[in-house]
Amino acid sequence: MSTDLVLPGQPVPVPRGPTAQLGAGTYSRDGQVRASLLGTPRYQGSTLAITKIRPHPPAPNSIVLGTVTRLSPLQAVVSITVVDDVPLPAGEEFMGVIRVQDVRATEKDKVKIADCFRGGDVVKGIVISLGDARSYYVTTARNDLGVIFATSEAGSTMEPVSWQEMRCPKTGHIEKRKCAKPEGL
């Protein structure tokens, strides 16, 4: 429906009756609902929004994927490459930090970062806050969050055997990871 395209600043017709909630791409100024994106306004439930699938910076509660780049006893640094299922352009990654207390929900004081992540692992997490100047705080404290892809020391892709262990199919060695529960299990 290209005829319904609106431009930034253009008033969006809102039907009378219960006022719609304003979602992404819309704003209200002097009581007039206007568009802030080029696109077609649509209702999603009671929310009026102009959706545009494009890379955006992480926000609290975004589901992010990233690779572990640095480990320390206190935190694991991840380079966020996918935000809410939208991959970021190459070279525009965001820095995320998984602090030791955010790795898992229980027995937080027994967590050792080295037994949960290794460099190069792909981790699925949720952004808990915008963090500090440099990085976003990411948590993996949920069953479906954690390492989703890892290679063993022998170099092959490991498969999870429990929520704390992964096995190398080549050598049979077991390495420790905070694994994410595979989807649909």
Binding site: G9, Y27, F94
Partner: protein, 261 residues
Amino acid sequence: MAQSNFDRRRINGPEESFPPVFTDEGVDEKAWKPGKPRSGRNPDEIRPIFLSPGFIDQANGSAYIETEKVKMACAVYGPRQSKSTSYSEKGRLNVEVKFAPFSCRKRRAPMRDAEDRSVALQIQQALVPAVRLELFPKSTIDVFITIIENDGIESCIASGAIAASAALAHAGIEMIGLVVSCSAAVHGDEVWLDPTEEEAQASAGTLIYAGMPALNTTTNLWQTGGMSTDRLMKCMQVCQERCAEIHTVVAHELLENAKRD
């Protein structure tokens, strides 16, 4: 034999070169001279605008603008993570302007100087009120403008702001309205819109107006030279009227581009 001032970062020209010889150099009889009435167009007429959004593939958003002798390309990248800045609740809009070496009468060295920065600052000032930076915490939006052909700083700023706002809209960055801009020069009793470099230099004063016609707001105003208050108001009024027309051009091109995708 290492040459000390050899520039390795750029493609260097031949070692020996000669300026081209034009047979009709400097004998353009029809050219406008200071003190004469405006030639070629009416005082309140602007040069035709050609705008084409989305011509740089690798950028998130881009636009090319051409108004006779002003040609510039604008690319928008981001929002990306701010580097080496402290935590900020709002995003940053970073505008960089580069003059191509061949953009001016005299060759411009590929280095940043004061003029780039003042042009960039004016464009940034024009755009900042429009961009919803509160939606991009900790992030930076980069706007890069390359001036391919230059016809006075006034038209560079005006066209640059139009191109940048078109590129931002094309990039899908949330804005409260499209920014358009128009310049004016005072010649005697007349106000000449969209002056060329010669016209601006010969004028008593110039004004660059930027605003959002959709919201009926002004975002930036830059005045140079001498101008009485009522003349200033007149300039602003005619610029504002012309901006509404420029807005329809920008809107048309953006809609055409959106329909094609």
